[in-house]
Each structure stands twice: as C-alpha cells, then as structure tokens.
Symmetry: C2
Subunit: 197 residues, 2 copies
Amino acid sequence: MSDQYIEHLIKIIAKLPSLGTRSARRIVLQLLKKKETLIPQLIQSLKDVEDNITVCEICGNYDTQSPCSICSSTTRERNLLCIVQDISDLWALERGGLYKGLYHVLGGVLSAIEGVTPDDLNIGELLHRIEKEDINEIILALPATVDGQITIHYISSLLKGKNIKISTLAQGIPVGAELDYIDDGTIKLALDMRKQL
Amino acid sequence: MSDQYIEHLIKIIAKLPSLGTRSARRIVLQLLKKKETLIPQLIQSLKDVEDNITVCEICGNYDTQSPCSICSSTTRERNLLCIVQDISDLWALERGGLYKGLYHVLGGVLSAIEGVTPDDLNIGELLHRIEKEDINEIILALPATVDGQITIHYISSLLKGKNIKISTLAQGIPVGAELDYIDDGTIKLALDMRKQL
C-alpha cells in the first residue's frame, strides 16, 4: 500500500461529494506530481476561505462579511426576496445575473422521509425578516420536487394575510430542449400550462 | 457570484482530475458547511504530504524515505523487478498484496502521438539498475494498449542478451466477467490463447 500520509489524504478527499476512493487516488497522484506548486496553492486557498468566509446572519449566504454584500447592497431591490433551498441555488441565480433582489437561504426543504421539520430550516429567521424588513414580494425558488412543492405550500400558508405578493418559478420545457428528451410529467405540465399567443 | 476566495478555491479544485466546475462547487460547499472540522483536517493532511512525501530515487515510488520502503526492504525478493507505467499501477499491485518483488516506475509509455520518447521515461535509470542490482527476472506490467505493447517490445529488445527472464501480464477474460460484456478483441485473444485442460 502507499504511505500512511498519502492514504490519509486519499481518505479525506474520497469523502467529498461526487468523489470516491478511485477518483481521490487520481487527485492525490496529481497533487503529488505537482507537489511544489499545486499543494501550497491549494493550502493557501483553503486557508483564505477558512479565515475569511463567514455565514451571513441575515440570509445565510457565504461571504467575507456579515451582513453579506447582497444583504448590505444599496443598489439591489430591497423589497423583493427570493427564497432558495441552498447556497448553490443562490449562486446559480447570481450567475444568471438577472435577479436583483435579496435572498433567503432555507438550508433545505421539508421532508417527511428524511425527517426535516420546519424547525430544521431557517423559517423562523424568514418570518423575523418579513416583520422587520420592508418586503412586498417573495419568489419561492424551491426545487420542482414533491418536497419542494410541500415546502412552497407550507411557507405560502405562513405568509397568508401579510399582504405580500408570492410567486414560484415557472415550470415547463427548458429553453433549447427537444420534446423527445423531456419526461412525461413535464410534457403534461407544459400542456396544462400552455400559453395563449 | 460567490466571493472571490470561494471562486479561487473552486477554480483550483475544478482543475483536478475527474472534476469540473460543477463538482468543484459541490465540494467547496461541503467544505464550507463543515468549515470548522473539514478544512483544517484537509490542510493538515496536505501539509503532511507536502512535508513528508518524496520520490524514491531508485524506483520512482512516493514514500517518506528515499530509497523507499519497498526498495530498502530486506524481506522482498530483490532479484524480481516489476516495471509499471505509473505509481497508481504500483499502488494497484501493492493493494493485491501478492507481488513480493521490487518495482520500477517508468513514468509513462512510449507514444508517437503524444511525442513520448525513451528519453522522457525512466529507462536510463532502469538500465543502470539492471547493471548494478542483481535482477534475474523482469515483469513488464504495462497497459494492454498499442503504446503499452510498443513499450514492452522496446524494453525487451534493450534487455536482450542480458540473461534476464522477461514476462508480461497474462491477457484474457477478467475474473468474474460475463462474455456478453467483453469486447471482441479480448474474446479473440482469449480464444487464441486458450488453455488446454
């Protein structure tokens, strides 16, 4: 077997998402091949992230400051709030660069199977924000799964009577997709929700 | 977009083998979620590898010492040498735990397309070892590709007349494999090389 230091590094890397022992071994070999440059670079970058990144106390985003740059921005629409499941979804929306409001990261969706209850999500913080901040529109950008839909239903019921416009993302055929490759459920939904020209 | 420190880490990780931007993002999110434990653990392990691992001057293996623990072992068969393409192959053979001889890592195979010439491989070192050490058998455990076979041919021609037994790994149907899933080339080879019972 390879050395214990190498084995230990392989073990840590293999536990990261989308990796296993085999790909971790390939990664560690690559790191060893470029030991003089790649390892110090990776260590420095990990340290920078460790030392500088914090969770925004308002929305749950990662940033060098809390409140984060989005929450403390003066140019964004401060009465529009987009609720997302995870920070990766926030990143995806920011990459698009079209959304100009604020965010709230739930940290998951309700799930009977995985035992995720409202207390496990940042829903209390959400209600607190709605009381404190001047929000008049909420977009529920949650996943198009059963759990996502249940969470949308739950949150929208909590917000009833608060005079806030609530919407969810449009569902249908993705841009550029061929019908042949789309699942039946999406086709049915796209037909049901068809738009009059 | 996410923060510049996070982006930088994603960029470094995305360049590692078997990863891309999407999987690097998932890995960085996981690291951030377990920032207090996972990042220091990963940094420490990278440092241990950086500080302690070196390339064995004899065989090309990675180890905490040079000559490595295999080259300096007194219990291994010191006149049996296995030539491998890369350290990952050495690791694979060591995982099996059946081979008890020494190794020599070539660092690649000859390739006309990729422009790999004998000078790019540890072939000079190999000849030097054969002069100096008491080796009487060599196993060419190189890949079953055209480039691998050419390299086998090249090295065995260099070793002609040196009174060293040379062999290559057996080729055929892998253990436990169903014929249905085996490529035609392997089936042809397994038929040609069939063993009389």
